[in-house]
């Protein structure tokens, strides 16, 4: 049956019963709405996407028969909606809407529609405002069913899952300061504003902290600058001093105002204190000074559904940054400047797969250095500025995969349901000017992450770092500087073992006091930084382990507590015995944002 005919039939079916679909239970048997999930799973589990689509086509031809009472029609349309969501059809929500319309008293279908926007859809985040519309409506229906004495056993499961969906939806927001959107939510919270406070604290000693993650690249650049300053190769002692693990304390506190018509507006205040983190002068690595950063900012975030085109995430922010300790020779020099940041993402389904394109543009409008006690030098030596641009493509494959049954000690293929195979590639251009030097760090990366064969996630990524340094020569011309140029290849493998699988508790997890266990992952990262060209004395390998624990603050209005703690052993093997590093870090997040 073609789509137009089907829609006509649907319309006729709906109009024919429009008068009876407005109030009271839908005519027909009272159905457990989870039969929709069961039927959809039965028609999709262990299937290729082509097979699921074939099942979908059968269910659409016709969507229901004339003799079906409304409650059965609604269930059948819900199954179609679930299957459409599974194969990535953009009109899945229309079928959820039809199911809701035909059985308007049943909150289960609102839950499933809310889960669709809160789970399958979205770009780098759920379509939160659309999801909460359905979830609060489900709460309203549940309350009415209680009043009318028609609250069935399965409705308690619907209620629990609505609460879980809202917990997950607001998990990043932090501790609610206003009651209306706090856990456990009630239907009255829908149009009320949410105000919440999130706080994050990270303490670490790690070679990679604060260096964009590429310690090899950053330390190699510093070694190059040592050569520029001193005109000789750094000694083993110099390299030992460069490879440092400052004690770093990062805090970030954000006040988030959320309203379903507005999206989320954040006011933030953050600090960074890193002891002896900066080389006071690149020519003498043993001389180090602290770095301190304070920043206040305002940001806006919202995912906007623009289907049938795509979902668009808007994330815009501006910060005022005050930093001290990052200007060579001037450890006490303070700089204040604005940072403008945009992180848009668009995402859409390609059949059952999902393509997400994310961009980042960060403009750091750093003023020329003007500090007391600085040497009187040419003005261009005081020039500062930094621009970061990037693009990331992620292609997520959600169909079951034929994977070798490694867990059974066999290479036989076995159709394995996964939480997604994510293929990603990207490019980042970090263009920084400091005085007479400019370094353009280009990062190319490509990788794959397989989530969910059993209790494991496996991620593999190759990252190619290319640093191209220039210097202003005496004639004022920008010349290539090989001392601060080079290329590095990082190979990284991360295996994650899910000790507590969040999927196993689709409802609200049982609580210990005010907390409910959300998920617990045991992570094993492994990486190898190989210098392909340029100075290679800071190559290293690294292996470690970490725990990531997510706890729902069910007794704290629903705020999520995220704890990560890890240890990594790094070995800069060209340094011999001086190259061993033990990196540790712990981060506590109540609610969270990117740190």
């Amino acid at each position: 049956m073609n789509a137009q005919l089907m829609l006509v039939l649907l319309l006729l079916g709906v109009l024919g019963f429009a008068s009876s679909a407005h109030a009271g239970p839908a005519p027909g048997p009272e159905l457990n709405p989870f039969s929709c999930i069961g039927d959809a799973e039965a028609a999709s589990e262990d299937r290729s996407i082509a097979q699921i689509r074939s099942e979908l086509d059968k269910k659409l031809d016709p969507p229901f028969v004339v003799s079906d009472p409304l409650s059965i029609r609604a269930e059948k349309l819900c199954v179609i909606a679930q299957l459409k969501a599974r194969v990535g059809d953009t009109d899945a929500i229309d079928y959820f809407e039809q199911a809701i319309f035909l059985n308007p008293d049943e909150p289960g279908y609102d839950l499933f529609a809310g889960n669709y926007y809160g789970g399958a859809r979205g770009a780098k985040g759920p379509v939160l405002e659309s999801a909460e519309k359905y979830l609060y409506r489900a709460l309203e229906k549940l309350e009415k069913l209680r009043q009318r004495g028609r609250f069935r056993g399965f409705h308690s499961v619907v209620h629990e899952r609505v609460q879980r969906a809202l917990l997950t939806l607001y998990q990043q927001d932090g501790v609610p300061l206003l009651p209306w959107k706090a856990f456990p939510q009630a239907s009255s919270g829908y149009l009320a504003p949410g105000l919440s406070l999130s706080t994050q604290v990270a303490i670490s000693r790690d070679t990679r902290d604060g260096l964009g993650g590429s310690d090899t690249q950053a330390f190699t650049a510093e070694a190059g600058l040592f050569k520029v300053r001193r005109g000789l190769e750094p000694s083993a002692r110099n390299l030992y001093d460069i490879v440092r693990q400052p004690l770093r304390l990062i805090t970030n506190t954000e006040l988030r105002l959320r309203h379903t018509y507005l999206g989320a507006i954040d006011l933030s205040y953050g600090t960074v204190h890193a002891e002896r983190a900066a080389l006071t002068t690149f020519g003498e690595p043993s001389m180090k000074n602290d770095i301190d950063v304070k920043q206040v900012g305002v940001a806006y975030e919202r995912v906007i559904p623009l289907y049938p085109l795509f979902d668009l995430k808007l994330a815009l922010g501006v910060k005022q940054v005050e930093r001290r300790g990052v200007v060579e020779y001037l450890p006490n020099c303070s700089q204040t400047f604005p940072v403008y940041e945009a992180r848009p993402s668009v995402s859409r389904f390609i059949s059952s797969d999902k393509l997400t394109v994310s961009g980042v543009l960060t403009l750091m409008n750093i003023p020329d250095v003007q500090c007391e006690g600085q040497q009187k030098v040419s003005s261009y030596l005081n020039v500062r500025g930094r621009t970061i641009t990037g693009l990331n493509l992620e292609y997520a494959i959600y169909s079951p995969l034929l994977l070798p049954a490694l867990g059974l000690g066999s290479l036989r293929p076995y159709r394995t349901s996964t939480r997604g195979l994510y293929l990603s590639a990207g490019y980042v251009n970090d263009n920084e000017v400091f005085g007479d030097r400019r370094v353009v760090n280009e990062t190319f990366f490509a990788g794959a992450r397989l989530e969910g064969p059993g209790s494991y996630d496996i991620a593999f990524q190759e990252t190619y770092y290319a640093a191209s340094g220039t210097v202003i020569d005496n004639g004022g011309l920008e010349q290539h500087d090989p001392n601060i140029s080079g290329t590095i290849l990082r190979s990284a493998l991360t295996i994650t073992r899910r000790l507590t699988n969040p999927d196993e508790t689709p409802g609200v997890p049982s609580s210990w006091g005010p907390f409910g266990n959300g998920s617990l992952n045991w992570v094993f990262p492994l990486s190898f930084d190989k210098v392909l060209s340029g100075y290679d004395q800071l190559e290293n390998v690294r292996a470690g382990t970490a725990l990531w624990w997510k706890v729902f603050g069910t007794g704290l209005g629903g705020s999520t507590l995220l704890v990560t703690a890890g240890y990594d052993y790094g070995y800069f093997y060209h340094l011999g015995n001086a190259g061993h590093r033990h990196n540790v870090g712990i981060t506590l997040r109540l609610g969270w944002r990117d740190l």
Binding site: N32, F34, S35, I37, G38, D39, A42, A43, E45, D46, R47, Q51, S54, E55, K58, V65, S67, I72, F154, V157, R161, L402, P404, A405, L406, G407, L408, G409, S410, L411, R412, P413, Y414, R415, S417
Partner: protein
């Protein structure tokens, strides 16, 4: 690096990673028994315990509002209360549609009933309501029988027997008692007090067009009338008169206390004379008994009603008239009359007499098929590992609120039991030992009387409820026979390997069997054969029988699975009473299932109901639908599971298997992918090569929850080697099967005993089978 070199290194890396990630579980230790539960809340039994106080979160047998319910019986009621019968709404007040202390519709066949304050409404529905997904012969009140002025506050059960029940209406000094039952064309009524007997033919009903009432005999002690074309006769004591009173008839019964009403096949004088002769032989009880003739592999069942002749002379005989269901009259040598009735189970033929015997062939059960095909060991080992390496062999079930209840754990028990036998067949010792120990530990966990997995004995309803309950196995006592069938089958497989374990835990296993089907009438802890309706030939799944359609049973194949488990357990433990009860249940259920779920002869489903099978049988009819989905694969497949050595009966009629499977493909508009293992295993009973071909096209699927890839592959491969079930040959041991592939016949026998056994087949073949082993002759 050369391409070949890279591939080699990649493969090597994969093998290394595979070896690192793969991890056979460490040897499972026997379970250490926990400390005994407190005596105040538990009862010791054998090596285990069961709870006598309900855990806090257990839903006890209750009504639709989940308020506890106790049996609704008279003061003189004796014996254990029961449930899950065709008449259970009399004893279990569920209040599904508001307060109703009388009953819901009860489908005795050929008569249907519904109790009310004024007496007993009855009817004889012969016009089915046929839809695409069901046919129903709904009860419609054609006659009300009672006492004049009767307004009872409730209808209570005064007594019951195997398929007959006596209900009581009390109103002050007056009491009416009515005895009704399967196959009884009569209602037998007695009164206490002097209120006149009342017969009220019904002219109208809110549900149907007005009935046409014609009185075709009045005068003297009997009354003849027709309602909606159905003929009724009422017989009073000699000397009594039936007086017209408005639309009703009353009689003082000439001062006596009894009268009877019958639905007649017709109103001919001969028929009236026949019924009149039997009208005073009041049925007072019903009893089934059985005898297994092992040499002939034939189960003999005797269905007997006891009668009390209320009035001798006048040609009255102390003998009942019985209407036999199709599965009964097909298998009896009793002389049947030409008169018959229509019912949702097809034609019911009339027998003049108080008893009859049926004979049913028993084609045997096996613990599992032998590995005749000698399938690829690596394949089977790989599939066994899929189970063996699982960290949790008894996971929670699916659904919106997953639980480790007795149904889902039961299914896992059987899955493990099948897999361990396959592991044993291929010599995969570590897996066999591990899975066997896992079975023992899991069963013992249930038998220790401690949370979270335990059994609670409810003394009100004399039933053993698994905790946690599933599918309302507590609130409505639903499905225990399904659930415990899996436990019984799995326990039998443990017994196959460890007789000492079986001896130690026999009281606990047998308590489960007794809950579903108590074979000892003297054991008052449980009603006799609670779930099995011996006359109907199958069980009823619902406790209160709370529906307008009466009671129901969906997965009859799981009903048979219980019976097969009982046969194996009885055979392996030397308990002949349990074994023979299992054979009785099995043969009755198979013959009923073939007729009423599958209609293999095309004689049961009414015209315009165009299906090869139904998923559910109801008192009023049958439904081509399941409780949870309309998916045609579920509708058919729910009666294909579980596939075990006890499920070979499904292949008794290969042509029907093909027809049934073809309907699945038609309704599904494609070969099935949902439950593909279940449907292929069914198809393999008729066309194993086709099933294997479908399987080979795509092996990479997840089997149904209670099934495994190991069992699927083993079943398909071996049936492809064995061919079809050969029902023409029988053996003198119950644990056997015979197959034929073309002209090649394979005789298989399992020896459950501790000594070698010589098994004789009816075609002259003989097999010597070592103790606890399976042997075959090809």
């Amino acid at each position: 690096m050369s391409h070949l070199g890279f591939r080699f290194r990649f493969l090597l890396a994969c093998v290394v990673v595979s070896g690192a990630l793969s991890c056979a579980p460490g040897a499972l230790e026997p379970r250490t028994s926990p400390s005994a539960p407190a005596a105040s809340i538990s009862q010791r039994l054998g090596s285990g315990y069961y709870l006598t106080q309900p855990p806090a979160d257990l839903e006890l047998p209750g009504n639709s509002q989940k308020q506890p319910v106790v049996p609704k019986v008279t003061a003189d009621f004796q014996g254990p209360a029961t449930s899950n019968d065709w008449w259970s709404s009399l004893i279990w007040q569920n209040d599904s549609n508001g307060k109703n202390p009388y009953s819901e519709a009860m489908y005795a066949h050929p008569l249907t009933f519904r109790a009310e304050a004024a007496g007993l409404g009855l009817g004889y529905p012969t016009l089915p309501e046929v839809r695409s997904d069901q046919y129903m012969y709904y009860h419609a009140k054609e006659v009300l029988v009672g006492l004049q002025g009767l307004a009872a506050s409730a209808t209570r059960v005064a007594s019951y027997s195997d398929w007959v029940v006596t209900a009581s209406w009390r109103d002050g000094a007056s009491e009416l008692r009515a005895t009704i039952g399967h196959g009884l064309p009569f209602v037998y009524l007695t009164r206490t007090g002097t209120a006149p007997a009342l017969i009220a033919p019904q002219h109208g009903t809110s549900q149907h067009a007005p009935f046409e009432v014609q009185v075709w005999h009045q005068g003297g002690d009997w009354l003849g009338f027709s309602v909606a074309g159905h003929e009724y006769a009422v017989f009073g004591p000699s000397g009594s008169e039936w007086q017209a009173s408005g639309d009703c008839f009353t009689s003082d019964l000439a001062g006596k206390s009894y009268f009877s009403l019958a639905v007649l096949p017709d109103q001919s004088a001969a028929t009236v004379a026949l019924f009149r002769a039997h009208a005073y032989a009041f049925v007072t009880g019903s009893e089934v008994s059985w005898r297994y003739d092992a040499p002939a592999a034939t189960l003999h069942s005797t269905f007997q009603v006891s009668t009390e002749l209320k009035e001798a002379g006048h040609g009255h005989v102390n003998q009942a008239l019985l209407a036999l269901y199709r599965h009964q009259w097909l298998n009896t040598k009793a002389p049947l009359r030409s008169e018959s009735y229509l019912s949702p189970r097809g034609q019911m033929k009339l027998l003049e007499g108080s008893s009859f015997e049926t004979e049913l062939a028993f084609n045997g059960v096996l613990p599992i098929l032998p590995n005749v095909a000698q399938s690829d060991r690596d394949d089977l080992e790989f599939y066994i590992k899929q189970l063996y390496y699982q960290p949790d062999l008894f996971p929670k079930g699916p659904g919106e609120k997953p639980e480790r209840d007795t149904y889902w754990v039961g299914k896992s028990l059987l899955k493990v039991a099948n897999a361990l036998q396959i592991a044993d067949q291929i010599g995969y010792e570590s897996a066999k030992d591990q899975l066997l120990q896992a079975l023992k530990n899991q069963l013992e966990d249930w038998f220790d009387g401690r949370a979270p997995s335990a059994f609670y004995y409810d003394k009100n309803w004399r039933s053993l409820i698994g905790v946690p309950a599933g599918f309302f196995s507590g609130l409505q006592l639903n499905d225990h026979h399904f659930h415990y069938g899996y436990y019984t089958f799995a326990a039998a497989i443990v017994a196959k390997y460890d007789a000492a374990w079986a001896k130690r835990w026999a009281p606990n296993v047998e308590l489960l069997i007794k809950d579903a089907a108590n074979w000892e009438r003297s054991d008052q802890r449980f009603p006799f054969l609670r779930y099995m309706d011996a006359y109907a030939g199958h069980s009823w799944a619902n406790g209160p029988a709370q529906f307008a359609e009466g009671n129901n049973e969906e997965s009859a194949s799981e009903d048979v699975n219980f019976s097969a488990g009982a046969v194996l357990w009885g055979a392996l433990t030397g308990n002949r009473a349990i074994r023979d009860m299992g054979i009785f249940l099995y043969t009755q259920q198979v013959s009923a299932m073939e007729q009423y779920w599958w209609d293999i002869d095309g004689q049961v489903f009414p015209k315009r109901f165009e299906h090869a099978a139904v998923a559910m049988v109801w008192g009023a009819g049958a439904r081509h639908d399941t409780w949870w989905s309309h998916d045609p694969i579920f509708v058919h497949g729910i009666n294909f599971m579980p596939a075990t050595g006890g499920a070979l009966f499904m292949g008794r009629h290969p042509e029907y298997v093909r027809r049934n499977y073809a309907e699945i493909v038609t309704e599904n508009r494609a070969e099935p992918l949902t439950w593909r293992d279940v449907t292929w295993m069914y198809l393999a009973l008729a066309d194993p090569n086709r099933a294997l071909e479908l399987y080979e096209k795509d092996r990479y699927f997840k089997p149904e929850f209670g099934n495994s890839n190991a069992m699927t592959y083993h079943w398909l491969e071996n049936l492809a080697a064995l061919g079809q079930l050969d029902t023409s040959v029988r053996a003198d041991t119950p644990t056997y099967a015979v197959f034929h592939k073309g002209k090649r016949r394979t005789h298989i026998a399992f020896n459950p005993g501790g000594q070698a056994l010589e098994v004789h087949f009816s075609d002259g073949a003989t097999l010597n089978v070592p103790a606890r082993q399976t042997a075959m002759l090809r």
